[in-house]
C-alpha cells in the first residue's frame, strides 16, 4: 500500500514539478525584452530535456567508455586489456557468435511470423480476428522472466524413471524414447534456438499489431486494381501489399533487432549462460553484478553500443526518408 502511494506521489510530483519548472522559466523569459524573448525561448524549453539527457545518458555513456579502459574497480588504467582478454577468451567468442545468431535470426523470424499472422487474421471474421489477435498479443504483456519460467516448464526434464512435467518431454517419452535435456543440447546450437523461440514468442504479437494496422491501411482499391491488372493473390501480397507496408516493416524489424541485441534475461534465467548459450546482454550482467568487474562489463557494453549505432543510424535515415515521402 505504502509503495503504491509512494509511486503515485512520485508520478504526481514529477508531473507537477515539470509543469512548475516550465511555468517559472516561461515567466522569466517573458520578462525579457521582446527581441530577446523570441531568441531565448526555444532554448529554455529544450534546456531541461537536454540537461536530463546529458546528465543521465551522455555522461554515463562517456563514463562507461572511460571505465572500459580501466581495471575492475576503475582505480587504474589498463589500456585495451579488457577488450583483448575478452576477445581472446573462447567463452566470449561463443557469446559473440550466439549474439550474432540471435540478431540475424530473431528479427527476421519475428517479422515474418508477424506478417503472416497479420495477413491471415485480416481474413477472419471480425470476431475471430479480435480473439486470435488478443491471444497472440498476450505474451507481449508477460515479462521476459515470466516467459522464461513458462518455457522453462515446456523444456523441463526429469530423470527417465519419473513422470515428465515438461510438455515436450511428455510427448517424447510417450513415443517410448528417453527424455531429452533440451537446454543442454549445444550440438548445432539447438538450445540457443530453443531460447530464441521464447523471445520470438513474446515479440510476434508486437510485430503483428503494427503490421496488421499497416495492412489495413493499404487502400482496398489498389488491391482491386492489382486483381484487374492480372495479379494473383501471391503477387498482390508481394508486389502491392508488402511494398506499401514496407516502412512499418522496417520499423518493426529494427525495433525487434535492437531489443534482441539487448536481451539478457531469457538466457540468464533459463541457462544462466551455460551450455554455450550465453549472449552479450547476459554476459554483461554477470561481469557487472556477479564478478563485480567494472572494466570488463563496460568493455562488453561499449562493444554492444558500437554494434547498435549503425542500426540506429539506418533507422533514423529510414524515418527521415519516410517523412520526406509524406
Amino acid at each position: 500500500m505504502i509503495k503504491i502511494i509512494n509511486a503515485l506521489l512520485a508520478i504526481g510530483g514529477g508531473v507537477l514539478g515539470a509543469m512548475l519548472l516550465f511555468w517559472v522559466l516561461n515567466k522569466l523569459v517573458e520578462m525579457l525584452p521582446r527581441k530577446w524573448e523570441a531568441r531565448v525561448k526555444p532554448y529554455v524549453f529544450i534546456g531541461p530535456a537536454l540537461f536530463a539527457i546529458t546528465v543521465f545518458l551522455l555522461y554515463p555513456a562517456f563514463q562507461t567508455v572511460v571505465a572500459s579502459f580501466a581495471n575492475d574497480d576503475t582505480t587504474a588504467w589498463v589500456g585495451l586489456r579488457n577488450y583483448t582478454s575478452l576477445l581472446a577468451s573462447r567463452e566470449f567468442q561463443t557469446t559473440l557468435i550466439n549474439t550474432l545468431m540471435w540478431t540475424l535470426i530473431v528479427p527476421v523470424v519475428t517479422v515474418a511470423l508477424g506478417l503472416l499472422v497479420a495477413t491471415l487474421a485480416d481474413r477472419l471474421t471480425p470476431g475471430g480476428e479480435k480473439v486470435s489477435k488478443t491471444l497472440i498479443f498476450m505474451p507481449m504483456a508477460i515479462s521476459m522472466v515470466g516467459a522464461s519460467a513458462i518455457w522453462g516448464f515446456i523444456y523441463a526434464v526429469r530423470p527417465a524413471a519419473e513422470n515428465q512435467i515438461g510438455i515436450l518431454n511428455a510427448v517424447v517419452t510417450a513415443t517410448g524414447a528417453d527424455p531429452v535435456n533440451w537446454l543442454q543440447m549445444s550440438n548445432v546450437k539447438i538450445n540457443t534456438f530453443l531460447l530464441m523461440i521464447v523471445f520470438i514468442w513474446t515479440q510476434v504479437g508486437y510485430a503483428m499489431v503494427l503490421l496488421s494496422a499497416a495492412i489495413k491501411g493499404v487502400p482496398e482499391d489498389t488491391i482491386e486494381a492489382g486483381r484487374i491488372d492480372g495479379a494473383n493473390e501471391r503477387q498482390i501480397f508481394s508486389r502491392i501489399i508488402v511494398p506499401q507496408v514496407w516502412p512499418t516493416l522496417i520499423t518493426v524489424f529494427v525495433t525487434v533487432l535492437i531489443g534482441t541485441m539487448k536481451t539478457a534475461d531469457i538466457v540468464y534465467v533459463m541457462t544462466n549462460g551455460n551450455f554455450s548459450t550465453n549472449i552479450v546482454g547476459a554476459a554483461f550482467f554477470v561481469e557487472m553484478f556477479k564478478n563485480m568487474d567494472n572494466g570488463r562489463a563496460s568493455a562488453i557494453v561499449v562493444m554492444l553500443m558500437l554494434a547498435i549505432i549503425p542500426v540506429m543510424v539506418y533507422q533514423v535515415k529510414q524515418f527521415r526518408a519516410q517523412e520526406a515521402n509524406r
Binding site: P219, E224, A225, I228, D229, G230, A231, Q235, Q244
Partner: protein, 359 residues
C-alpha cells in the same frame, strides 16, 4: 474489341433483402460507349464491379464477347478499370504503374517500355514517367490511371466516376478527351457517373438505374425527348423537367386557367389525374392564359435566363417551377408571368405507376 452482355445479372448483398442490382439486362455493342448513370446507391458502381469481377453475381450471367465470364476472376476477363480515386500503386513510378499489368503478363521489358511510352505520349505524361504518383497533380494522376488502362489494350474499359475528383474546368476538358480517346481506340467502354451531364455528353447510349433496376437504356437524344417514366424525366436534363400533377379535363388536361389538349386515347384507362412534364425550355410565356407563376429567382446566363418560381396563390413547394425565358428581356424577381407548354413538347405519365403515357 468485344461485346458485353448483362443477362439478368443480379447482385444481392448478404443480409439485404433487396438486391442492389436487380436482373440487369443490357446488350453493349462492340466499340460502344455506354454510360451507367443514376443517383447514389442506385447500383451503377455495383453493376460495373460485377462486370469487372470484383463483385459476385448472385443471379443471371455476364458475357464478354459471348463468353460467359460470370464466375471468372478479374484477371481472366481481360478488362481494365479506372477507379474513382485512381488506385495508383503509391510505391511505383508512373511508368511502373502503367506497365504493371504487362509485367504480370510476362511481356518483355522492351515491349512494355514501348507501349508505356506510346500511351504516355497520347496522354501528355512523357515528362512524368519516372515520378511517383504523389508528386503528380490530380489531373495527372487521373491520366496515369487512364494510361494504365490504355497500355493493356483490353477487351473492355471500365470507368468508375473517373472525373469526380477533378475541379470543374478540368472535368469538362477531360470529359471531351476521354470521349475522343475512346472513339479513336474503339474499345468497348462502360462508364459510371452520377452526373447526368457527363452521361449525356459522353455516351453513345445511356442507361439510367434506380434502386438497382434499369429504368431506360437509350441514346442521349432519345432519353431526353422520350423518357420512359417520371424518374428518368426528372433525372435527365438540367435544369430538371417540371412535373405537375394535373386533373383530366374535357379535351385534355387542365393547366392553370386553360386546358392543354391531349388525345383521349392517350389518357386511356388512367384515373382523373395525370402527371404532366414540361422541360424549362418548352414553357412559353403567354399573355393571360396558362399557369400564373410568382417569380422567386431569376438566373441570367447571358444567352438565356431561367426563372424559378411557384404557382401564384399556392405555397412555394420544395420543387420550384423552372422556365427558360429570353435572356435579353428577362422578367424581374417578384413579377407574375403566365406560362403554358409548347404544343408537342409535353410528357405525360401515369400518376400511380409513373410510366409514360402515349408516345
Amino acid at each position: 474489341m468485344a461485346t458485353v452482355k448483362y443477362d439478368n445479372a443480379t447482385r444481392l448483398y448478404p443480409g439485404n433483402d433487396k438486391p442492389s442490382v436487380d436482373a440487369l439486362d443490357i446488350d453493349i455493342a462492340d466499340g460502344e460507349f455506354l454510360v451507367l448513370v443514376g443517383p447514389s446507391g442506385c447500383g451503377k458502381s455495383t453493376s460495373l464491379r460485377m462486370l469487372a469481377g470484383l463483385e459476385e453475381v448472385n443471379g443471371g450471367r455476364i458475357l464478354i464477347d459471348d463468353k460467359d465470364v460470370t464466375d471468372l476472376s478479374p484477371k481472366d476477363r481481360d478488362v481494365a478499370m479506372v477507379f474513382q480515386n485512381y488506385a495508383l500503386y503509391p510505391h511505383m513510378s508512373v511508368a511502373d504503374n502503367m506497365g504493371f499489368a504487362l509485367k504480370i503478363a510476362g511481356i518483355d521489358k522492351g515491349e512494355i517500355r514501348r507501349r508505356v511510352e506510346e500511351a504516355a505520349k497520347i496522354l501528355d505524361l512523357e515528362p512524368y514517367l519516372e515520378r511517383k504518383p504523389k508528386a503528380l497533380s490530380g489531373g495527372q494522376r487521373q491520366r496515369v490511371a487512364m494510361g494504365r488502362a490504355i497500355v493493356r489494350e483490353p477487351k473492355v474499359f471500365l470507368m468508375d466516376e473517373p472525373l469526380s475528383n477533378l475541379d470543374a474546368k478540368l472535368r469538362v476538358q477531360t470529359r471531351t478527351q476521354i470521349a475522343s480517346l475512346q472513339r479513336r481506340l474503339g474499345i468497348t467502354t462502360v462508364y459510371v457517373t452520377h452526373d447526368q451531364v457527363e452521361a449525356m455528353t459522353m455516351g453513345d447510349r445511356v442507361a439510367v438505374l434506380k434502386d438497382g433496376i434499369l429504368q431506360q437504356c437509350d441514346s442521349p437524344r432519345r432519353m431526353y425527348d422520350h423518357p420512359n417514366n417520371v424518374f428518368v424525366a426528372g433525372f435527365i436534363g438540367s435544369p430538371a423537367m417540371n412535373l405537375f400533377e394535373v386533373p383530366v379535363a374535357e379535351g385534355g388536361v387542365k393547366f392553370g386557367n386553360g386546358v392543354h389538349p391531349v388525345d383521349r386515347s392517350v389518357l386511356g384507362s388512367t384515373g382523373n389525374r395525370i402527371t404532366l412534364g414540361v422541360r424549362p425550355e418548352d414553357l412559353e410565356v403567354s399573355g393571360e392564359d396558362g399557369l400564373p407563376i410568382n417569380i422567386d429567382v431569376v438566373e441570367e446566363l447571358g444567352a438565356d435566363a431561367y426563372v424559378y418560381g411557384s404557382v401564384a396563390g399556392t405555397d412555394p413547394g420544395d420543387r420550384p417551377i423552372i422556365a427558360r425565358v429570353d435572356g435579353r428581356r428577362p422578367p424581374m424577381k417578384g413579377d407574375v408571368i403566365h406560362v403554358k407548354p409548347k404544343a408537342d413538347h409535353v410528357h405525360l405519365f401515369d400518376v400511380e405507376t409513373g410510366l409514360r403515357l402515349g408516345d
